[in-house]
């Protein structure tokens, strides 16, 4: 299984490197007084990274019939699914950690920091669950059919992003700024992070079952 | 007429045709002046090429078993039965030679073989 993770992480990294360079460039721009709040951009970036590296990796497997190759080798479906889920988890943790680190660097006021950490973490959970459901979809319907739905998910993510963070992007809009700040203060969200983790494990189990019974090899 | 083309037979296809037509002439299935089926017909029935049959007919004609009239087809020559028998004996002789030589190593000689043949005839 670790072998699988190692080989596939190369595919993930391939996508991470150019985006990382991209990020540094933009981050400098924002840090020097850009208008768009950094964390909104960071969230978007996190999503792009997770979804992009997942898609790159899977399109590579699809192009090379990677699952057919694995079908011959002594490796179980459970190990295949585990390697994917660990990779997503690793990427999300890396990106979220980096995000929060950058936010702490950038933000001076402690109230804002609390909210930003919340948004950073919850966004990580969103990315994690997005990755999980993508894999379930790929195992169930195959990569090609799943990519057709990509834009659909992209749209959902965009709506979520605007709903929660719209006020920070467009300060005049006032959608639910107060509610978000209140929610951040209430600390209920702290439970949402482990809850997301539990849901992720549950989705992992579903993914294993789907992989074991699906015909998309 | 009974013709079997066998791909397991090492003899070339045209020769298999020639041999079996000669057999038919020898055993009286085909009589003098009988018309042979056309080349196309033979090729079609036996699922072999017309060129093969053409070659077989040419050989038969050259060896004097059949003759061809333009536009009418090929016919059996009124061939001397003794001559046919002589031809058959010639083939038989070479077959017998193989039997004789291949059995020498077992200590079987011509006398043994002649005795066997006589026994077979009596048992008939």
């Amino acid at each position: 299984m670790w072998k699988l993770i190692r080989v596939q992480s190369l595919n993930y990294l391939r996508y991470l490197i150019p985006l990382g360079i991209f990020l540094i460039f933009y981050f400098r721009e924002f840090y020097q007084g850009g208008k768009l709040p950094v964390f909104v951009f960071l969230c978007f970036w996190a999503f792009l990274l997770v979804s992009g590296s997942l898609t790159t990796s899977e399109s590579y497997e699809e192009k090379n019939n990677g699952y057919e190759i694995l079908g011959i080798l002594p490796v179980t479906n459970k190990e295949i699914v585990s390697s994917k889920f660990i990779l997503v988890l690793g990427t999300v943790m890396l990106v979220t950690g980096l995000n929060i680190f950058l936010l702490i660097l950038r933000t001076k006021s402690p109230e804002k920091l609390n909210m930003m950490i919340m948004i950073g973490l919850l966004w990580g959970v969103v990315c994690l669950l997005y990755g999980a459901q993508m894999y379930i979809g790929i195992f169930k319907f195959g990569y090609n059919r799943m990519t057709k739905y990509f834009w659909f998910f992209f749209l959902i993510i965009l709506v979520l992003l605007i709903f929660f963070l719209g006020d920070f992007i467009f300060p005049g809009l006032n959608i639910n700024k107060q509610a978000v700040i209140k929610f951040a203060d209430s600390r209920i969200w702290l439970f949402l992070v482990p809850a997301g983790g539990v849901l992720y494990c549950y989705l992992y189990k579903i993914a294993v079952r789907v992989k074991e019974t699906s015909e998309e090899v | 007429m009974f013709i079997v083309i066998s791909h397991q037979n090492p003899a070339p296809l045209y020769q298999q045709v020639t041999d079996q037509i000669i057999d038919a002439i020898t055993d009286g299935t085909l009589n003098p002046d009988d018309k042979l089926p056309s080349i196309r017909e033979v090729a079609g029935e036996l699922k072999i090429s017309e060129i093969t049959v053409k070659r077989a007919y040419a050989d038969l004609e050259q060896e004097g078993y059949i003759f061809t009239r333009a536009g009418m087809g090929s016919f059996v020559v009124d061939i001397n039965k003794d001559k046919l028998k002589k031809m058959k004996l010639l083939t038989l002789s070479s077959e017998l030679e193989i039997i004789l030589r291949s059995n020498e190593k077992f200590g079987i000689n011509s006398k043994d073989i002649i005795r066997l043949i006589k026994e077979l005839e009596e048992n008939k």
């Binding site: 011959i72 080798l73 | 079997v4």
Partner: protein, 290 residues
């Protein structure tokens, strides 16, 4: 344990095709050929045996193990070459060996190198530039380098030129000398199976119709050429694929030993001529008989 592979009542339903409760028993140390026309279900059968697709019902036991509990161990002891050879396209043989070998407990790098050398495959060329024949050879090298006990081959020679085909067949014949290796091979190229198999199974329309030792099969099946009316009573009715022609009739029988006695007079008189049949003649009779 006599059988290295036992599959019982395997069933797989697709839209418009059903693999219908087939059973397969593979005797240890033998080569079993699975013959059938395209679309008969050969690849489906093999993919079921490899656990690449899921069965609707039935059970598969290989080395006395089953996929539910021991998939890893089983795959460690199976070598597989498919109809299509999948490799990471822009990688080299060197990389591929490194990748594949990590999964096996008992990968033998020396065997692999020996095959690569024997097949004259370029170690540092990208696989996407390989010909079909080279990919098949690489597949065999991969399938044989972990000392498998069971080799499963799905149409390994289809799409190959006669020279490479012969090379592959010679390799299989060579492997056959090693008695510990068992092979299950599917093909629609009957000549290939004729050369290498000990045991033959015929598959038509998702069913296994015949499964028999090759020599017995060929002793049983004969083509009978006969002069019209020269056959003893009732024999003609028992023949399959009867063709009546100007120059005699012919038919195929699968019970030659039973009727040989009654044909002997005709054979002596030259009115009946018996020929061996090829595996494809049998296949055609079976398909027509369906």
């Amino acid at each position: 344990m006599k059988y290295i592979l036992e599959a019982n009542n395997l069933r797989k339903e697709y839209q418009g095709f059903t693999l219908d409760n087939i059973s397969i028993k593979l005797v240890r140390g033998t080569i079993t050929g699975l013959i059938g026309p395209n679309g008969a279900g050969k690849t489906t059968t093999i993919k079921l045996i490899m656990n690449m697709i899921k069965k609707n019902s039935g059970d598969i036991s290989i080395f006395g193990l089953n996929y539910k509990n021991d998939e890893k161990e089983m795959k460690n002891r199976i070598g597989y070459v498919g109809e299509e050879q999948y490799f990471y396209q822009n990688k080299t043989i060197k990389w591929t060996e490194k990748f594949v070998s990590g999964f096996y407990n008992n990968w033998d790098s020396d065997i692999f190198s020996a095959f690569i050398e024997k097949f004259q495959l370029p170690a540092n060329k990208k696989i996407k530039n390989f010909s079909k024949g080279m990919k098949v050879k690489l597949s065999f090298a991969v399938a044989l380098s972990h000392n498998p006990e069971l080799l499963i081959l799905d149409e390994p020679t289809s799409g190959l030129d006669p020279i490479i085909r012969r090379e592959i067949l010679d390799l299989l014949l060579e492997l056959k000398q090693k008695e510990e290796l068992s092979v299950f091979v599917s093909s629609h190229i009957t000549d290939d199976l004729f050369r290498i198999s000990d045991h033959i199974s015929y598959m038509v329309n998702g069913k296994i119709i015949i499964s028999e030792v090759k020599d017995e099969l060929l002793a049983r099946w004969k083509k009978i050429n006969y002069k019209p009316d020269s056959l003893p009573e009732g024999i003609e009715k028992k023949l399959m694929n009867v063709e009546k022609q100007l120059f005699g009739s012919s038919g195929i029988t699968d019970k030659y030993q039973e009727m040989a006695g009654s044909l002997i007079t005709g054979i002596k008189q030259g009115d009946i001529k018996v020929e061996n049949v090829g595996l494809d003649d049998i296949l055609i009779s079976l398909v027509n008989g369906e």
